[in-house]
């Protein structure tokens, strides 16, 4: 069959037209948003609420360390923490203890630059910790099924923090309360180091002026296997998957979250800002309440 040049050109034109339409649609779908980016630390943020034990027995004591950031704050922050039996947050209930009969105020106070060393550094890092006790089994396991008691009943912890500029952030986390043996309970993952180009970064070795491949030195035991009881009573063994969120005050990162041991790419600023310090923070989660933090500070001594 003979195909004339004219026909071929028509086909070419049609092809280009289709390609243009698809490109146009894809560009619309993937257009860059002007909304604030998750990774950028600017306003008051709670980055995580780290519990020393993410899964405990009834009646156990737990210490929680909030990780917050408010690089523009110069004076102080106020906070209040409350606890109660989880009203059903995973079912869509509002994460609040307001109407709960088990509501307890766990901690309350002010944070200033002398509260601890990290708060002195642009209010970015560990805030003052607080401890509390989980209700005993008669209370927290009341009317709960054997499956719930094995998989864990949640104790809700809410944390509200506000700054002098009128910003307020509410956060919550759940402490899992189960009757599993201690060695089967969830532990926080352990992140030993942040590596840049394969070299471990010390706490104040903030990279500058370049593009760096970042990775995490995660302890092998951090990828815990754990058991879940299914509705039919069967026990299923699962293995944790770790997800790391990256936060920065300057420069940019290629991915704002990375999975397992995946690396990330950090485009560092040329110099440190003169008015404040710079931070690179990784928050690694095991999706069961276990959390590990690493903070690299530029300009800290």
């Amino acid at each position: 069959m003979k195909i004339s040049i004219k026909k071929f050109n028509t086909f070419n034109l049609l092809f280009k037209l289709l390609l243009s339409t698809c490109t146009f649609l894809l560009n619309i779908a993937c257009s860059e948003s002007k909304l604030p980016k998750y990774v950028e630390l600017k306003d008051l943020r709670v980055l995580s609420l780290v519990a020393d034990k993410p899964e405990v027995n009834p009646g156990s004591s737990v210490t929680v360390t909030p990780i917050i950031s408010d690089i523009n704050e110069t004076s102080s922050l106020n906070y209040i923490a409350t606890g109660c039996i989880d009203p059903g947050v995973s079912l869509g209930a509002k994460a609040t203890c307001e109407n709960s009969s088990s509501k307890v105020t766990l901690a309350e106070g002010s944070i200033n630059s002398s509260s601890n060393s990290e708060m002195a550094e642009n209010f970015t890092g560990q805030a003052p910790s607080f401890s509390f006790s989980i209700p005993n089994s008669e209370v927290i396991f009341s009317s709960r099924s054997a499956q719930d008691q094995f998989n864990g009943v949640a104790y809700l912890l809410t944390y509200e923090v506000n700054n002098t500029r009128g910003e307020k952030v509410s956060a919550y986390r759940r402490i899992l309360v189960s009757n599993k043996s201690s060695d089967a309970k969830n532990l926080n993952p352990v992140v030993n180091q942040i590596f840049s180009q394969g070299n471990a970064l010390s706490a104040n070795a903030y990279p500058l002026n370049g593009i760096y491949t970042l990775s995490l030195g995660i302890d092998n035991n951090s990828f815990q296997s754990y058991e879940v009881q299914l509705t039919n009573g069967d026990i299923e063994t699962r293995v944790e998957e770790l997800t790391t969120t990256w936060f920065i005050t300057d420069g940019s990162v290629k991915y704002f979250r990375s999975s397992q041991l995946d690396s990330n790419e950090f485009t560092a600023p040329e110099t440190l800002p003169s008015t404040r310090k710079s931070f690179l923070i990784s928050v690694t989660r095991d999706s069961r309440g276990g959390i590990a933090i690493k903070r690299i500070c530029g300009g800290c001594n």
């Binding site: 037209l17 289709l18 390609l19 339409t21 698809c22 490109t23 146009f24 894809l26 619309i28 993937c30 948003s33 002007k34 909304l35 604030p36 980016k37 998750y38 943020r45 709670v46 995580s48 609420l49 009203p87 059903g88 947050v89 995973s90 079912l91 869509g92 209930a93 509002k94 994460a95 009317s143 709960r144 099924s145 719930d148 809410t158 952030v169 509410s170 956060a171 919550y172 986390r173 759940r174 299914l230 509705t231 299923e236 998957e241 997800t243 969120t245 290629k254 991915y255 704002f256 979250r257 990375s258 999975s259 928050v283 989660r285 999706s287 069961r288 309440g289 959390i291």
Partner: protein, 752 residues
Amino acid sequence: MKLSLFLILFTTSSVLLAKTFTYQGQLLEKGTQLPLKEASIFLLPQKLKVQTDEKGYFKFNDLNEGEYQLIINLSGYKKLEKQILIFETNGNIALQNQLYLEKETYLAFETTVVGKKQKRDQTQKTLTQEQFLSMPGSGGDPVKAVQNLPGVNRVQGFSSQVVIQGGEPKDTAYNIDGHEIPIVFHFGGLTSVVMPEALEQVDYFSAGYGAEYSRATGGIIGLKTKKPDAGERQKKSFFFADNLKIGGLFEKNLDANSSFLISGRASYVGLFLKEIAKDNEDFNLTVAPEFYDITSVYHQKLNETDDFNFIALASRDTLAFVLKEPLKTDPAFRGRFYNETQFYRLIPSWSRKLDSDRNLKVSAGIGQNQLLVDLGEQYFNLQSDVLSLRGEYEQRFSPTWINQWGVDNLYGNAKVKIKIVQPRSEGGVSNPFSTSEIKERNVSGKLTNIGLFNRHELSFSDWTLIPGARVDRFKNSNETYLSPRFAIKNQYHPDLLLKAASGVYYQPPEPQEQDEVFGNPDIKSPRAIHFSAGFEKDFREGSLEGITWQMQFFDKWLDHLVVQSSERVSKNGVLVDQNYNNKGGGRAYGIENQWRWSNLVWDIWLSYTWSESFRWNELVPKYKHEYDQTHNLNLVGSKKLNNNWKVSSRFRYVTGNPFTPVTSSTFDSDNDVYVPGRGNLYSERYRNFYQLDLRIDKKWILDQEIWTLYLDIQNVLNTKNPESIEYSYNYKDKEFVSGLPFLPAFGIKGEF
């Protein structure tokens, strides 16, 4: 008058001294090649006249050598005038030539509907193939075209689901020739799963629909396949290609009593998307979005009283991609995504005219549905075998009394493997998936829905009463309901029909709502009570030009609606997740109007609906429904131009949908997401929606084929209609996301 001379071949008819000749031929319709019977053909100046026979053949005998003028003037066709020259060429013998008459106007590859169709259901609105194929803005899609009818709410963005009279998408049931199908669109709204040219019509049943259908509190969309019939040509075929897909249809008469058609479509836009997406930093498109569908119909007239029909329908959609990082808004979405949706149906049906007063029709829908969503760690895998049975026995007891008995059963046998988070949503604002618990289920189950209906049609002078009732048994929820239906109409004047209808409707809960892990086994069927009243006025007084006006008031009360629950309830002394309860209610009412003005050149539709739709539950006394659209106006106009050009346009104006504002957020430290805090449910609205669409069709009529080129442009004015909201990670800031931009679609069709 054309001056070109046509050399006519001739036969020697005699060997007399004065030699005469025979001129014979066949008269066919240009493009379609349909024989034109009983057409008069004149030869001037002798004023000779013959008529074509059943197959369009004609013959002039005893013509002398010379020049003639041939004239054919047939109603509905362009006049044909030709000069012919008859002379002897070496005593040559020849056959006839073929003459082609061009129609005044050509439709598409359409089914010709003869006579006015009698509507059995007074709530029924029908779009014929001719209407939906050329409807601007719907790309020739039969179900998308339904969006232009009054009472149909506009859905947002790329979705094309039909929301009827303030209901929800899931309150609309779709069927093909009376048998339910699981999906009606490829990829939720791209295009229907049946090739439009294989359909004769699409029917839309709204508030007050009759006893033949049920299990939908909103209404019914019924697709009706065409009866294969290639007419006198014995076979015909059709081909098309547009910027999304390619396909074709072949239709053939096997003998005088049997015929078949087969059609198929496949998408190819995925190839382009894959090419473009290969350098995308956010995801890898591993399987480009692809779909295909096949529709086949076989019809056999068994004898004078029996007809057999067999429909085979299959559809498949696939899409896969890999996210290079978890989604910004929800880390639960990460890694690979694979979706495969497919189903098939085989629908044999048999109808028998038992005698002059009794008819019987039975049909079955046999098939399989499969849905696979694989998100790596999470998945949803459903496989179900489906059998639907419909039967209808009609008896005319007297000239004024018709009775129908029917069965409408649906059986299913499903295997489901699920491991997925149960999304939580309120007021149209969803919590991030990460905040919900991952649940797992591996279960087999049966579905049994049995329906029996009885309907009477009683005529008294100008009045027709249509009482009916239906008994539905939903075995899974252990419910049996009696649903009365009643309609009345009065032919007040030959041009004015008054009508009213009412009924009770039950819709079985969704399977996941009844599941003991994902739902609540105690969930019951939502109920709706419909009432509608209106009129149909024809101002044309028998002419082909003028206005028709249909007006209808509807009112729907809804109770036992299934709503999500975050409560835990005590069951056998243990707290269990309630997940859902039946404590929802609602009401929707409104007035629908449809004016239509048409003549041979123009066809203008104006649909306008005023309506309000509310919902309530145990926590919120009353709030606007998601699809509360106070004003919904569709103006559709088309004009046939010379040389087979056709221009059509659609303008839509719809009140902006309500949405629930997000007024606060709470950071979930366990999952690294922010959970939205909702303000009053659906207390704000998007900006009003308006859009202008344009369609241009051009046909080229050749002797033995017809080619059509069309351009269908959605949103000609590139209006930025806000359709959804994108929030910042902590819901403090937001951006409105616009819907469809200026979007041209073009295609070519060939009919042979």
